[in-house]
């Protein structure tokens, strides 16, 4: 099927690649069908989660284990009820990345509210984890502490070169 996107133009998407998110993503209750676009990831783990029915709506997402290797999703009972029995291997999770336009290095990932996807059924849900260690705005590149300021200079130089 054809999917119109503002960022990538019109794309041909196999029907069976659609991820259904029956409750929508928080703040976007009316968009319930998404596709994962991986074509321009360039070897990095970041992808676009593109809404099928709103060409403008797309999120940058990443598998949270790339941010925090020990990341764990705990399924609450509501989620179990939505999916039936939970077989953890059937699930993948992704978290939404937010990149401040004026300061991209301060980009954050929402580890508190991952989107989990049950691949056999292709159903997804944004869940809120109880774990208080997971932040809604987790810095992907930790802020250098003030005592590191001097040592930070070479990194800045490398950045401006790239």
């Amino acid at each position: 099927m054809k999917v119109a996107t503002t960022r990538f133009g019109e794309m041909e998407i196999p029907e069976n690649s659609i991820i259904h998110i029956p409750e929508g993503i928080l703040g976007f209750p009316n968009n319930r069908r998404y596709v994962l676009l991986e074509h321009d990831a360039e070897g990095t783990p970041f992808k676009w989660l593109q809404a099928v029915d709103s060409e403008r709506l797309a999120f940058i997402v990443v598998d949270p284990r790339h941010i925090l290797p020990e990341y764990r999703v705990e399924f609450d009972e509501e989620t179990v009820a939505l999916f039936g029995a939970i077989v953890p291997e059937d699930f993948d999770s992704m978290v939404i990345v937010n990149v401040p336009r004026e300061n991209p290095i301060a980009m954050t990932a929402n580890l508190k509210a991952p989107i989990i996807v049950h691949y056999p059924k292709r159903i997804g849900r944004q869940i809120i984890l109880r774990n208080e260690d997971y932040s809604i705005t987790h810095r992907i590149f930790p802020e250098p502490s003030s005592e590191d300021d001097g040592a930070e200079r070479p990194v800045k130089a490398a950045q401006s070169a790239g």
Binding site: D40, F46, F59, I60, E77, I96, N110, K112, Q126
Partner: protein, 89 residues
């Protein structure tokens, strides 16, 4: 709205299986203990608003944002000497 006055250490029950206890009162803060079945989802009200707000911000990224993400990721991964970016906590 039902309004009840409770002291520290007292509690209220909602139905048969939800208990909310006042654990501690200090200045303008109240610590509450909530006992509820596992299928009752309990979150601070503001967390929903924060996540919605964060999602809305994240929905406005342009392709150049992803380009920034990718180049930063690559340069940081290289400087960290491999894939796993952070292990410090």
């Amino acid at each position: 709205m039902l309004i009840l006055t409770r002291r520290s250490g007292e509690s209220i029950k909602i139905g048969d299986d939800i208990t909310i206890s006042v654990i501690e009162i200090r200045g303008h803060q109240v610590r509450l203990g909530i006992e509820a079945p596992r299928d009752v989802v309990v979150h601070r009200e503001e967390i929903y608003e924060l996540i919605q707000e964060q999602n809305r911000l994240a929905a406005e990224q342009s392709p150049s944002s992803l380009a920034e993400v990718k180049s930063l990721w690559k340069s940081k991964s290289v400087s960290a000497g491999g894939g796993e970016e952070r292990k410090s906590s």
